[in-house]
């Protein structure tokens, strides 16, 4: 990739991270449950948009920048795992198991839905 490409990756990666922080913060603030809804919403919405971008047949550097750099940074795997682990530690094992299952089902569903929307456009 060219130097401008890498600079764009850095900028879009920081924007994706900021969006994640703001969305997670807004959802967590409005939820009183210990279930990590903020990360779930971030990951589900990101999977939907990345599905849409692949469905629109974006490829090459366009997909890399809009998809991998931006949406890839917006969604997160590590926080999902950390929150699952901490739920288990706090004795909320069922919530932890639910967090894994719901994220996978909703994530795959959102990605598939986004892709079908992209295909039909």
């Amino acid at each position: 990739m060219s130097l401008p490409g890498w600079i764009a990756v850095a900028i879009l990666g920081s924007l994706g991270s900021l969006a994640r922080f703001l969305v997670d913060g807004a959802v967590s603030a409005s939820s009183s449950s210990s279930f990590p809804l903020g990360t779930l919403l971030v990951n589900a919405s990101g999977a939907l948009v990345l599905g849409l971008l692949t469905g629109l047949a974006l490829s090459g550097e366009a997909l890399l920048l809009a998809g991998s750099a931006t949406i890839g940074s917006y969604t997160t795997f590590s926080t999902w795992m950390l929150e699952t682990h901490r739920l288990g530690e706090d004795g909320q094992l069922m919530q932890g198991v639910l967090n894994v299952l719901v994220s996978v089902v909703v994530g795959l569903g959102a990605a598939a839905l986004g892709r079908s929307i992209g295909w039909s456009l």
Binding site: F21, G67, T75, A111
Partner: protein, 140 residues
């Protein structure tokens, strides 16, 4: 809250966002660097995504446990290292697309193996690095 307290709170908020942006830029560069160095062909195990996700989970468990339980409260290390770097280094959406593509090719065993290995590996990575930080603390 006094005006001075409000102003300094605002500065912290801005610095926190800046720290997230810097960490996020570095995490994205590392993840995409790995993806470019080890491209995945269709029907194969996505090593680059798998590796950044497991390493990112390992680092996040380490950073968060250390910052919460060992070091004095710092306002900027967590947004820089945890929210920014580890958050952007790892990705959820790419995994979902990789799984859909495996399912498209009817590679169901590969898809199930990749999903299970990611979730179990990611969980064990957080578990292991958190336990390591606490063990060091218990000895010290």
């Amino acid at each position: 809250m006094s005006d001075i307290q409000k102003a300094s709170r605002r500065d912290v908020d801005h610095l926190e966002l800046l720290a997230i942006a810097c960490g996020g830029a570095l995490g994205a560069l590392a993840r995409i660097g790995a993806a470019q160095a080890f491209p995945t062909s269709a029907g194969r195990w996505p090593w680059a995504t798998f590796a950044v996700n497991i390493v990112g989970a390992l680092l996040l468990g380490y950073f968060v446990t250390r910052l919460q339980e060992r070091l004095p409260v710092s306002t900027l290390r967590r947004p820089l290292l945890a929210t920014g770097f580890c958050g952007a280094l790892t990705t959820f959406s790419t995994v979902q697309i990789e799984l859909l593509r495996m399912a498209d090719r009817h590679d169901y065993v590969l898809a199930a193996g990749y999903l299970l290995a990611s979730v179990i590996g990611g969980y064990l990575a957080v578990f292991g690095s958190s336990a390591l930080v606490r063990r060091v603390r218990a000895i010290a």
